[in-house]
């Protein structure tokens, strides 16, 4: 009889597992196993056209080689510049917009919707439209010309401006999402604290910095981590708009990993770089996680 009593809990557990089973299988097949596989081949010189098993273990050679590889180091720098540029601007802009729209705007919903549209639009379509926007007949060049600049920058055709141009586009398409998260967080702010501040004679600016920003800090923390990760993984716009060019100016890490794997056929090397990317992202996230104690108030 004791046996049956035990199996009651087991039964509940089993039901639970049965429900998550389809998902677990999916995760194993399409995430876990490939991840382990990529870890293994990162220690090999595998050229994937040679078929599975046709590889030599080369130890940590791949991990050493990449630091002497100009393509790797320059793409890493580009990625860091990209992320460091995109993340603060996106998050800050979203915060300002959320507060301003919440307080001072008519027709809040359509405005939020308009901001959110780029986020749910197809990346490919967005990228192609932006290519036209950056063309010499596009609004950016015309605007700069109207401001009296003789030789307007060639945006995507210039080694200096291509990366900032991509960053601007990414901010534009990411700000709607961050704005929405902020907006929903704003709804939960305690009104009595603001009333007290009003009575004490605090103006709007003081209230924003002393109340709103600290109240929203957990949201900011969440957004910084997620936007950081997504901007480290930027790929589609690069593939469509610049293919890493001109020169190496927009060659980012994920794009170089793709190039090594599918143009150079160096799957082992590409896997090694992917793991380095993972370690970098993991490191940054952990750092932020510990750093949050200093500025996030729950």
């Amino acid at each position: 009889m004791k046996k049956f009593k035990l199996s009651k809990q087991a039964k509940i557990d089993l039901t639970g597992y049965a429900f998550i089973l389809p998902n677990i299988i999916g995760v194993c097949l399409f995430t876990l196993i490939p991840m382990i596989f990529s870890l293994i081949i990162s220690f090999t010189d595998w050229d994937y056209t040679q078929g599975i098993g046709n590889w030599n273990f080369v130890g940590i050679k791949n991990f050493i080689e990449m630091w002497q590889d100009e393509w790797f180091t320059s793409s890493l720098i580009n990625t860091i510049v990209f992320a460091v540029g995109v993340v603060p601007v996106t998050v800050f802009l979203a915060l300002i917009l959320a507060v301003v729209i919440d307080k001072y705007c008519f027709a809040k919903l359509p405005i939020r919707l308009a901001l959110f549209m780029p986020y749910i639009s197809n990346v490919v379509a967005v990228a192609i439209v932006w290519v036209m926007m950056y063309s010499p007949w596009g609004p950016f060049t015309q605007l700069v010309k109207a401001l009296g600049v003789e030789n307007p920058p060639q945006w995507l055709g210039s080694t200096t401006w291509a990366l900032p141009a991509l960053m601007l586009m990414t901010v534009w398409s990411g700000v709607g999402y961050a704005n929405m998260i902020y907006t929903s967080a704003l709804q939960g702010l305690p009104g009595d604290v603001y009333e007290a501040a009003d009575i004490d004679g605090a103006n709007e600016i003081t209230k924003f910095f002393k109340l709103t920003v600290p109240f929203l800090s957990p949201t900011t923390f969440f957004l910084i981590i997620t936007t950081f990760i997504t901007s480290f993984q930027i790929f589609a716009p690069i593939q469509i708009m610049t293919r890493g060019g001109p020169g190496t100016s927009t060659n980012v890490l994920v794009y170089y990993i793709y190039t090594s794997a599918f143009t150079f056929y160096r799957m082992g090397y590409a896997s090694a770089m992917s793991w380095i990317l993972f370690i970098i992202l993991f490191g940054i996230t952990m750092f932020q996680w510990y750093g949050q104690k200093k500025w996030v108030s729950y």
Binding site: Q50, G157, G245
Partner: protein, 469 residues
């Protein structure tokens, strides 16, 4: 209430299962190209798949042939002809189009490596052919050739041997590629310039200057280099004529980027783009996504690289134009430097070693190379086999476009075979060497470094890559 709950959970379960099923269904479809052209054949191919498994029992063998040319540009008609001829012999063929770019080739290779989804396929460049031969994705044809006495040299001359990999035939070359400058004959006539049969870089540059006129949006350029598509054209088409089939290399361990012919060619492009302004700059090409169709066929440039755009020239429905197109060989550095003809064999027809119908595939390959190609000639592909008459080929080539294609220069530049083709032999780390070249060339053409600086950098970087063990 309880009932409701149970009903709801049942519904949820049903939805979940259904979505799982949908997931299963869509997975195999992804291996088929869903391009507009390939779309219509997808269904039939899938239906035909199980049939090929059983070769006996009177069921015809259905071969699956993959190529990069849209089905309606000839391959479908060729396959239909074959199906008509072989319907009593129990072999049928289905054509499937893959897009011949990185992604499309990856899709094809994934199919080849993972199983029997493809019986025959086209490989378009020698470096990829090497990769596939060495990677067990292409069948060694030696035995079949010996069995049937189908000596490749008998049909394709000794150049066929240049496309052997490690001394073994892994493909039948089917297409003869002879490249040249595509030019707007009406503009040449108006400027009083004869269609050139021989010219140097300097003469070419002068002619481009004469053909350039206008300003801003109405400007007509002498030349359009199509540089946003591929900057290595420069090596493959200009340098190869003087230096031979390995324009990127001096040897296995040294790149050619310090070679005087290479430097002269880079200078030519740079001068035309940035000094003479007789060609859209690389920046223009990239930022405006210029295309050959958009430039040449709309009369915005008098010349462009070619002749792969014959397909579009003949497609007057999509690209309406009213001028005559003629062809000229690529210019050479200096007189007497034309050591090689720019051209070679393309469309290497390979058989998948994992195919269960190797014999049938071989039958089709032989037929296609020696008899079946006329429908694809109309799409601009000249057959490599000597079993076709030159006049018959020219006729098929200009068919339907007699008013748009100059017969004489078409036959002379594109169809009449030469005997001194530039044949590639070195492919070592070619993707990486090309990437280096493209990056430095881009920086040169947008004016951020000089030709000498850039090519010196390219040489250092490429040599370093070539000398890595």
């Amino acid at each position: 209430m309880k009932k409701m709950k149970r009903f709801a959970s049942l519904g949820m379960a049903a939805i979940m299962t259904m979505s799982a099923l949908a997931g299963c269904q869509s997975a195999p479809k992804e291996t088929q190209p869903a391009s507009a052209e390939g779309g219509s054949t997808t269904a039939t191919t899938e239906a035909a798949a199980p049939e090929t498994k059983k070769e006996t029992g009177g069921e015809p063998v259905v071969l699956r042939m993959w190529g990069g040319v849209p089905a309606e540009a000839g391959p479908q008609e060729a396959c239909d002809n074959f199906n008509e001829l072989y319907k009593d012999k129990g072999i049928q063929v289905e054509y499937e189009r893959f897009v011949n770019d990185d992604t499309g080739n990856l899709k094809l290779e994934t199919n080849l490596l993972s199983g029997t989804g493809v019986d025959l396929y086209m490989t378009y460049t020698p470096s990829v052919l090497t990769k596939r031969a060495e990677g067990n994705m292409a069948l060694d044809l030696t035995e079949l050739i010996e069995r049937d006495g189908f000596e490749l040299t008998q049909y394709f001359g000794s150049m066929a041997e240049s496309f052997y990999i490690n001394g073994l035939p892994y493909s039948i070359p089917t297409k003869l590629d002879q490249y040249g400058i595509v030019l707007n004959k009406d503009m040449f006539d108006a400027a009083g310039i004869e269609v050139p049969t021989e010219w140097t870089y300097d003469e070419f540059r002068e002619i481009a200057k004469k053909l350039t006129h206008g300003e801003g949006q109405d400007k007509v350029y002498g030349m359009f280099w199509n540089s946003q598509q591929d900057l290595c054209y420069l090596f493959d088409y200009l340098v190869a004529q003087t230096n031979g089939g390995d324009p990127l290399y001096v040897s296995e361990t040294e790149s050619s980027f310090a070679d005087p012919v290479v430097l002269k060619s880079v200078e030519l492009l740079n001068n035309m783009m940035n000094v003479d302004k007789t060609s859209p700059t690389h920046t223009d090409s990239v930022t405006q996504k210029l295309s050959q169709e958009g430039m040449f066929l709309t009369g915005k440039s008098a010349m462009t690289v070619g002749p792969w755009m014959v397909r579009s020239i003949k497609d007057t429905a999509n690209y309406p134009h009213d001028f005559m197109t003629a062809f000229a060989p690529y210019p050479v550095v200096e007189e007497g430097q034309r050591n090689f003809t720019q051209g070679g064999y393309g469309d290497h027809l390979c058989i998948n070693p994992k195919s269960q119908n190797v014999d049938a595939a071989w039958e089709f390959a032989k037929w296609y190379a020696t008899e079946g190609m006329l429908p694809v000639v109309a799409g601009g592909r000249v057959p490599a086999s000597n079993t076709y008459e030159a006049s018959e080929v020219t006729e098929a080539f200009v068919k339907g476009a007699e008013e748009y294609l100059d017969l004489e220069s078409t036959q002379r530049v594109l169809i009449t075979p030469a005997d001194n083709y530039a044949v590639p032999s070195i492919t070592k780390r070619i993707a990486e060497v090309k990437k280096v070249a493209v990056e430095e060339l881009e920086t040169i053409f947008i004016g951020q470094q000089s030709v000498e600086e850039g090519m010196a950098k390219a040489k250092t970087r490429a040599d370093e890559i070539l000398n890595k063990e």
